[in-house]
Symmetry: C2
Subunit: 305 residues, 2 copies
């Protein structure tokens, strides 16, 4: 059955510290550690584009997994910071990786819910077209669109990219997905030239919509908290992850928090954590949940074969 | 079975004539009629965005088909000229149409192959997530990115949008898809600020790759020319459509040419024609084929139930 065979992540080594911005933004250690939860932001080189980050993630994947590039027949890039609008970034990645001409490529435009949607989209598309070797990339270099003077966004985001290798003998299989959208409020998280975020509105949306949505997905699948080994939530901020966890009444050890040293990597946040958690023997069933730009959300149950 | 229930198209009433540009670009009537095949280009209002064109296409759909907006559970917009990069245009359309929160929305970034990919993506996604009422929009307002002094592009493109309603009792069902990509040559059709097109290179790609690709799809499905009622080809230009038709050795009446009065509408070109051809009793089986930006191509066999 089609599922996740491997995940690889790339995070730029270059970091900028939020502790250096304490005076500028009048914040204390508790704010950095426990409210936003970002000590450092991973920042790409200025001239690096989304496709470059994807290629770096793929190079890491190649070290972990034996992949015949000629066999790749599907390549999807999830991004809202494409290299250009024309063509799609997946075509540029296709060219740089020298993939076969018998490869379906397209981009999906989504933000923080992008990995969950992308996972369903690539598996559905591959299944229905009898494709066997897929690459699902996430890459959203927000450093290009952040106003460094805007406290709402300047401390939060980090650059990164991931690639998920989808194939027939998947180790983890997505079992059920659930999706939602509230397009009326899209201007709460919005970019014309630089990113604008109404932090309060986005927090309120997340805190009210997401716990209920996750609870419904569990009930729909006849699952309870004890049946989930890890909840892999989009790392919006420490405060957001903590709030969802508390409202779900889930213990802290079941909800990994990982963004301290690189920041909110948008659609890459879930696969960065999944990559690590998939290795742990005790994790048989994940619930993943992404939410943000759109406003958009999506969650899934993922089980070990 | 999930399939196409209805298609609606919107083309702006505002037209600009290529006959008014004869002197400027030193071209004769034969060039306008038979080489590019575009007498007039349909041009949107300057401040109209992709989402506005989608809403107009949807309003036309509502006149043709009884749709309960509350039931729409999937909404995909195919575009490379989104309203903004953040959020996805499908979220904006979702908000404007006041769709339900239980609606999955995302954008697909693809150009002239976008309808074929999008059709497979939405049906696959809906099928695998048990969704029942989907809207597939195409909208690529190229007038925003055309350099009016560039003869390679200034005469060719028209603005437009379409919406395809996907549901359980489809009238036409896609049977088989085939996709391809050549990302190495993406710079032949490319946009940083204004669209650049190497007309010769794009023509050569189309004339060599697409007839072979279509032939292979027919053979894979055990079909011959006599089994196809209409070939609905992306309307790149009259010369491109004619060249593919001749190389396939297909008679002229089986390959609709329709762009004379509005131009190359990118991902909307195929559904604009399909909408008309689906009404004709004699059309039981279509072959559709899109090709362009990426470079990317996709074809499908579509059959009447």
């Amino acid at each position: 059955m089609l599922g996740i065979k491997e995940i690889a992540s790339y995070l730029p080594e270059n970091k900028i510290s939020n502790y250096d911005k304490k005076e500028k933004f009048e914040m204390d250690d508790d704010f950095i550690e426990n409210k936003i939860g970002v000590r450092c932001q991973a920042i790409k080189e200025i001239d690096e584009k989304a496709s470059d980050l994807c290629v770096k993630a793929f190079e890491i994947l190649l070290k972990k997994q034996n992949i015949d590039k000629k066999e790749i027949d599907c390549c999807i890039v999830v991004t809202q910071n494409p290299d250009y609008n024309i063509p799609h970034t997946s075509a540029i990645v296709h060219g740089k990786l020298e993939l076969s001409q018998q490869c379906a490529c397209f981009d999906i435009s989504l933000g923080c819910s992008g990995y969950v949607y992308g996972l369903s989209a690539i598996i559905s598309f591959m299944k229905n077209n009898c494709l066997e070797h897929g690459l699902l990339f996430t890459a959203d270099p927000y450093s290009d669109i952040i106003d460094s003077e805007d406290k709402n966004t300047a401390l939060l985001f980090g650059d990164g990219a991931t690639v998920t290798y989808i194939g027939k003998d998947g180790i983890f299989i997505p079992k059920d997905f659930s999706f939602g959208t509230n397009g009326k409020d899209y201007r709460e998280l919005f970019c014309e030239e630089k990113l604008y975020m109404n932090g309060r509105a986005v927090f309120n949306f997340t805190a009210t919509t997401i716990p209920k949505h996750i609870q419904q997905l569990l009930e729909k699948n006849g699952l309870e908290d004890k049946d989930i080994d890890k909840y892999v939530l989009h790392q919006g901020s420490k405060y957001i992850v903590d709030t969802i966890r508390k409202r779900l009444k889930v213990s802290e050890d079941k909800v990994p928090f990982d963004m301290h040293e690189y920041g909110n990597t948008v659609s890459s946040s879930i696969p960065i954590i999944l990559e690590k958690e998939m290795l742990k023997e005790e994790n048989k069933r994940f619930l993943i949940s992404g939410f943000g730009v759109g406003l958009s959300w999506g969650s899934a149950i993922i089980e070990k074969v």
